[in-house]
Symmetry: D3
Subunit: 289 residues, 6 copies
């Protein structure tokens, strides 16, 4: 079972929200300034326009927090499912701030929820197999930690954060080093004890070499179901086996049933279908203009 997802530290993503707000606001929301008095207040909700797994509530709320003068009440927590039409959060306060932050907040909430919702589809597809659905580094530039949070929110498991917190000896490393054994031995020798060494292998022979040289895990990229099953039968007791490559909703369960421990899927982040969320005004209190 996947661990509960934990939102990265606020300080790690708040500057990105500031930048997002800044690129949309520039010198200001000229329309709202022209049309509404500065002290105008509004009540609104952000609602799901289709079924989704909620993700990014605090991040979206932060857009309003940066603008000030808005109260945000979350009605659905990250990780909960929402039906089409359900309200995800309630906003009240400065109409200037709410209209100025609307698009930034929606873009953030939609992106996080899209990844969480899509991940949940894969997780549900392998339900009962005990196989973990794992992300990759194919994330939107600048949003790595938040997208990994969205994967976890959808029930997925996070692979390494980047090039620095685990070793992954890939085909190019092996070619450069002149073979699996040389590459993995070099990796193992250089790796402080706490660093995981995963090795991409293309055959049983390479898998044997990798394990003999000290690999903690094998990455089986673009293998057929038959190959995966054979490798799993032979090695699943000896290390963590991860399948990847060409995995979609249609075949993920079949891959899971080969006996690998986890399946990493770039599409979790690079191809999550957009889920639509929208802001609806509920009331214009004290409308007196």
């Amino acid at each position: 079972m996947a661990p509960p997802a934990t939102l990265p530290a606020r300080s790690s993503w708040l500057p990105a929200v500031e930048r997002a707000l800044a690129e949309d606001l520039g010198s200001g929301d000229v329309t709202t300034r022209a049309v509404l008095p500065e002290d105008r207040r509004v009540e609104a909700v952000i609602e799901a326009r289709e079924p989704l797994v909620v993700c990014g509530q605090e991040v979206a709320a932060a857009a309003f927090g940066l603008l000030g003068g808005v109260e945000v009440e979350a009605l659905r927590g990250d990780g909960e499912r929402a039906a089409a039409g359900e309200a995800l959060c309630a906003l009240s306060g400065s109409a200037h701030a709410i209209l100025a932050g609307e698009r930034t907040a929606l873009n953030l909430l939609a992106r996080c929820s899209s990844v969480a919702t899509w991940t949940r589809r894969f997780v549900d597809a392998v339900a009962g197999t005990g196989v973990a659905i794992v992300d990759t580094r194919k994330t939107l530039p600048g949003w790595r930690s938040l997208e990994k949070y969205a994967v976890a929110t959808g029930g997925g498991v996070n692979h390494r954060s980047g090039l620095y917190d685990a070793m992954l000896v890939k085909d190019n490393h092996i070619a450069a080093a002149g073979g699996v054994t040389a590459a993995v031995k070099a990796a193992r020798a250089a790796a402080p004890a706490h660093l995981w060494v995963q090795v991409e292998v293309e055959s049983e022979r390479q898998a044997e070499e990798a394990l003999a040289a000290g690999a903690d895990s094998l990455l089986l990229d673009n293998r057929s179901l038959a190959e995966l099953a054979a490798l799993a039968a032979r090695f699943r007791e000896h290390c963590v086996l991860e399948a990847s490559g060409g995995v979609g909703l249609a075949n993920v369960r079949a891959v899971a049933e080969t006996g690998v421990h986890r399946i990493s899927i770039g599409a979790l982040t690079h191809s999550a279908p957009h889920v639509d969320v929208a802001l609806e005004v509920a009331a214009w209190p004290g409308a007196s203009r």
Copy 2:
């Protein structure tokens, strides 16, 4: 015809490339450091794995530029089409830098090319109608200007950059102001002469009011083909008509044929299908380890 796309000033997107690189690199590419000597050189290409419209060559190259020691030669310019398997650029130089920058460069190139490729699909679908395919503010937070460049690269036309460089009087503004006339007059009065005033209208009556109050353009959101055709017949000589809402590849030509001048489509950016690009090593020159 759309104007030629121009890449935003380097200084406007380079920090984002730096952040993207930093989130992937952290304290460094531990695997490559362990396995390859620092002076190892490599030659590689980045190639298309499926047909696409190339976009983001300079941005991707900048990732290697920031790392240093890599020569990048673009083989296809932004806006050109590439077939599956075609090389988009050639890399040579430090293997450490090329492997460290690989994922960041690919993520950037794939994202830009995805939006350009998807936009091109829509542009081709309305070929001959003279209707412009226009983007929205539904972009990935922090990448607005680059995504707008990708839309232009795909033959689309850019709508306003953000809340600051054009007025768009939307349903909520109209509700707050107590009507189209009041809202548009307030907008027009406050708008310096150089600011465009576009108004979202839901009926012929609202359209009349908006034009009378000084609107430069009408946004016709979620109107049926019949409504669009009626509004276009009546108003297309008097202002710029823009349709939006629920437009996909299946119906975009029908919308274009109603007589509107442009069609804005959030899906250009929020739902562009991922196109796959990959780095392939061509040679390990002077392999002497």
Copy 3:
């Protein structure tokens, strides 16, 4: 009539206030630290030393806000006139913070008020003509948005924010393109619908060409009153006419009476006479040292 001025978003100018404070404070106010105990409190006012139009109250207050421990009460709002000797705001709290922030706050308030006061002089000079007084890009580097706010506070109208939010085809563009028609057609073709195209013209012939090629506005730079009147008579119904060049208080009304719609004046920002504001201590409560 000019729209009400709206202060740019706090996040857009607060870093500049921080930098201003940092350059003055460096490692700290060594004198105040040496002479006053840390818990000393003071009450003071900032007052006008000459008649002025108040501008920048929130910006100046932010300097104290960044230091903390000071309450600032605005006694005159931005845009109001103040006589010599009138108090603009009242301060109370930490003497360390008030003395440390004094010069930065005064410099900010004086600068904004100088521009607002100077602009108001020009606006008053054309009162009744309906002509707008417009700023230029000749602003102090780094303070563009705040100076444009000061112009608006003084009753002026803002021209484009920068090179990005409107097109201005100038003499150099025309020379490079080989003529007005070529330049303006290229601009018009490339301009998304929402971008205003203004063209600098030197003759009736150029004006005709520009309008035929699609200009929204003509900039008439350094034209005589007679030329302006002739151009206005012919074109003022067809586009927005803007005069500029060599306009001062002495001749601004004459220019306005030629029939142009607006007059842009670099001196609003580059030559606004300094208005003096000063901090006066009102009381040293609980002086017990």
Copy 4:
């Protein structure tokens, strides 16, 4: 005689040039992009439109340096005088970069040269007296070090950089401490040996107290010529005497002749009359469009 002016370290002002460029460029120079091909080249000069003391050549050049593709040749060094019409520097290279950087470079050069030119007027006015013309902290927020450089370029002498690098015991400090002696003794006790202690005094009695308590210099603010002469006669051998307050070109020599050592003048920076500089295109080489 004033020491030669030295431009502050590039790293200390380059970020401010970047910000200035960014606020003008935003997402780019839309006009130039539309009208000129990217590879178009141009030759131009920046020239003085009125007599001035040149200042800020490197700073202005840095704007083009940040854009790239422009060669800048300085024709007059900082501190040299230029007549109206004289060329200050020659530019050649990318027309896109030169037109995009033009306004930022001109704004920087004009501001620095304005302060240098104005300072030179004061310095010339006291020629032969040996009295130094000194700046204050009444500088444009964020440009302190560059404006101090401009003062030095005009032949002035810099006062402290900020609140941190010298002590200035002012009237409010004295009031808070309960007298000159108490304030100056506290300052002297706290001041590390290398910190100068200047004291603002209003009478001979206060001057005596200040010197007895260890002041290095006396600031004589808003004193009449007679008072200044009396104080100078008595104290000029014992410490550095600085006059300030209400000093203009009309009376600066009279103040200098009272016998004080230096005169500090806020107007050097807050009221320097704008000097006009402009970019003129010299040639469009290889115009082939």
Copy 5:
């Protein structure tokens, strides 16, 4: 007697605390997230593990402040002595925040207290002589102002902050200028009145030259006790004498008794022995898991 130490402005060191926190936290405290529920609370103290002079309480507290949800009560003020085992501050609040900020806060507090404690040893060693113990620029990169604060907290006196706020004519300057007189005259001529000019001299002859040329202070580097005594006898009435070089606890009093006014010691900052501080949990209130 040394002046009371004053903590530099919060804005000057808070970004460094943010960076320190960021480098430790990265994408988050994975252990605490996994093991403790988010709403778990804890009470703890930070205590001295050995006798020390407390320094850096606000700086350490800021680490928790940045994380949020923690109340910090200082039990010993900066500058107070604490015995081994004494609690320095009490923490209560979010266990996630307290455990995440623990190491950063301890590293900050230990570093500041180490310098203060070590400085106090030197200050005590010269007690009664009236000689000041002065720091140097041999500080940890990036922590200059905070280390100078720690020196002051330990009873030391701060030398110049950097290369900018006092002149120190060193051996290399003298060699380059061709002699003491030439170097010091150039320095004196260029120095605004408020800048102190200290000169490093190696002989009585050089000392005479330096004073004749206008030095405010002499730096006597690596002189024997006999040389120091001779120079002090001759020059201590005429300028500030500062000894430096090879001074440790063993000989500092002997140096002080030569008659110099102050002794500068790089070891105050570069060799302060680490003092140990640690966080101890006092209670897990409401432990209900």
Copy 6:
């Protein structure tokens, strides 16, 4: 054997060098500006004043690189030993830049070399035992990655970079969770496969529990030699054993001989004795002043 140390990516530490330079330079090196002409050149070396392990050559050189106009030739590579008096690098170029960057470069080089030299002492002390000397998170705030590089340069092995790249279940986690088993199971469940889980244990019983619950490594903090030997005998085949607490040069070999795999030592970074490096001018070429 420890892997070769690799300097972190330049972009990760260059901003810290910039900040270090900025805090020393402020508005500039006033002395050098006054005394030396701007075009003066100098040749110099940086030399060891005592035996040391060189570390930080590129970092120190970067200080000069940021100033410009200096050529730096490394004479000893990082990790090499140097005797007292040996030149570590040769500098030639602008005297202004070399004197301005001197202290920053020396502070950086001294700090890195101090940690490398001190680490080497510990590594040599356990030579032949196969035990790794490991660092901790007790590093100077803001310099974590560079200090870890210095440890590696001295032959040490890096522990986790921060709280994010490995789990370390400490006494407080165990107390909060109600026992070793609960804490470690929670950690193991939440840890993605690539995250190492180390557990601090105080007894054989706790060690058993930790291993049963899935620990990869045991941290034995403040255990006696006898306890370490007993634990090593029992568990060294089953997991990585790390000793810590109270380890100095005097006892590190004895600890190593108990059979643990690694010893982590906070003193590597918090108590590395300062090694002295200094800049010596070799020649003043073309001295013509």
